[in-house]
Amino acid sequence: MTLPPFQARTESVATTSEASPTSGSRRRFLHHAGAIAASATFMPAVRAQSKSIVVTCWGGDYEKAIKSCFAEPYAKETGIGVSLVNNADLTKMKVQVDSKNVQWDVFDSVGPQITAGARQGMWEDIDAKLVDRSDLVSPGGKDYVGTYLFGGGVAYDPKRVPEGKRPQSLKDFWDVQRFPGRRGLRTRISETLEMALVADGVAPDKLYPLDIERGFKALDRIKPSVKKWIETTPETITLITSNELDYTYTYMSRVFPAQKAGSSVAMATGQTINSLEYLAVPKFGKNTEAAMRYVAFCLRPDRQAAFANTVFFAPNARQAVPLVAAESRQFMPDVLNPAHIIMNDGWWADKYDALQKRFTEWMLT
């Protein structure tokens, strides 16, 4: 084990104290005793302070899971501390990279943000020597890595909507005759366009490249039945629980905490849209290598399985899938089942802006 940095300071103090030889040895003893006591009690803390990286996070249960599955084990294994910052958005990251004053070493975000950052040249290329991606279901791009998948689908209130009247697929969500009710969709074109196409009959594994015109035609059909185009994610749950909407598009990671808190909300798990969460390392970082090692650490099958067991995100590492507990797997979409959609953020990367603009205009007319 290497000596903690304060060892050097102790020694230098001891050297200067030689000026008064009588008290020197006693003072030296006290210093050493103090150092030993400190190293015994505060060793991990001191080591963590010696070097640490900052990783962006999303708060809540997600933060807790990241802390226990990735951040703390990484610190224990490498001696490099990990501090998590919440509410990190791409805008703030861009300011840091533009000013070459980078505070965040690893950026954790969803596809649209990560690919937007990639187009702006904000990310460092992933170091293939440190990060092995051969085992990943969806490897990501040259400067960002997919970490785990999270499913979105159709939510409803099981108390209000009796069995048999619950939409099980995206086709059902679009079928306003068989499933009448007030619907909620997102104001974001990605995911929404995939939903529309699958509802219109396109096979989930043959989605890409997306048939944009067909997608917008399918959106035209659902438009009159959508009561709220939802801008903030929490509303995808609250508008169901407050009985303002009957069916919304929401995420599994939002449904389970709501259920645990006692809300009457459920999600159809037969057909889901699975987005990837990504990690990227910004340019001009002060701890690039430690950041790359952290990315590699997060992809390790045992860590991926631990995370999946905690918050039910499906692992992106194939080897991790069998390691996930069976009772956790029932809360995760089986991404190997062809009924489920896996988002292709690479396809969206250079089309998102124009399509989002078109979609926003479409909503206004």
């Binding site: 861009k94 007030r182 959508v226 303002e244 603009k357 926003t360 909503m363």
Partner: protein, 278 residues
């Protein structure tokens, strides 16, 4: 008696505020203006050209002006009625009512917008009360449309119209009203010929604040609006956070600033023309 300050005293007193404004307002604003014309290391007017050819921009601009005007009008009418009532009360009885007007002012707009769901929703207080009273099952659509946005915004804007109007009502010389009464004028004539004209500076101040505030509204249209109620600030949000097109976002912000500026200039002109200088 000479009340005017010496030049050095004036400079000394104004300097702290001027510095604060320069650093905290002027500098960032300058950056926004700069990034609207300086994109990726080149000086260009592309962002403004993009805007001038964008139907999305014109639609949202129209939305913003229309919603702002209606919300301002609603809060002006309601605010005037409230101010009239408050002005008629004795000062001691006025206090609790003033607190009631201020109360929403002290609540976060985000909280208020969410709370409106409880009032305006399908299962909100209004629809439930209406259902109980009339027995009808059909719901009033008060949320996720223009109506919801206007209600939410007017609620936010009310204190900004009530207080300037109240101030100009209280400043009126009561003997004018008495004289008019003695000369045989009825209450309506007194209101139209004395109260209203004398309160116009307060009305203008209220309109000015309400209009400029509502043009930058963001959270209320996002939470209470429907798909057609997108406003300028929401569009800026899309360009800043989703597509990272800061050039375009800055250009929109600058256009919005100019429009507010023009509006203020116009209103000040009206005030001067009417001889309402305060």
């Amino acid at each position: 008696m000479n009340h005017s300050l010496s030049t050095s005293a004036t400079v000394g007193l104004l300097a702290p505020l001027a510095v604060l404004l320069l650093v905290a307002f002027g500098y960032p604003l300058g950056l926004v203006a700069w990034s609207s014309v300086y994109v990726d290391g080149v000086f260009t007017l592309k962002a403004y050209q993009n805007l001038s050819g964008s139907t999305l921009f014109y639609r949202v601009l129209g939305n913003t002006l229309q919603i702002s005007a209606v919300a301002t009008l609603v809060s002006l009418v309601l605010g005037y009625l409230i101010a009239l009532h408050l002005a008629a009360l004795e000062p001691r009885r006025r206090m609790p009512y003033m607190v009631l007007v201020m109360l929403p002012f002290w609540t976060s707009i985000l909280v208020k917008s969410f709370a409106f769901g409880i009032v305006l929703g399908d299962n909100g207080i209004i629809n439930q009360a209406a259902g109980l009273l009339t027995g009808r099952t059909e719901k009033f659509e008060l949320m996720f449309n223009r109506v919801g946005v206007i209600i939410g915004m007017s609620n936010f804007l009310l204190p900004f119209t009530v207080f300037p109007i109240l101030a100009s009502l209280l400043a009126q010389n009561r003997s004018l009203h008495r004289v008019a009464e003695i000369m045989g004028a009825g209450p309506i004539r007194i209101f139209l010929r004395i109260t209203l004209p004398l309160s116009l500076p307060g009305v203008l101040a209220g309109v000015l604040m309400a209009m400029t505030l509502s043009m930058g509204m963001y959270i209320t249209p996002a939470l209470l609006g429907g798909r057609k109620d997108l406003m300028m600030a929401n569009l800026v949000d899309i360009y800043t956070r989703q597509t990272l097109d800061w050039g375009l976002a800055s250009a929109i912000a600058i256009v919005l600033l100019f429009m507010s500026g023009i509006l203020i200039a116009l209103l000040l002109r009206v005030r001067r023309a009417e001889g309402l200088g305060v």
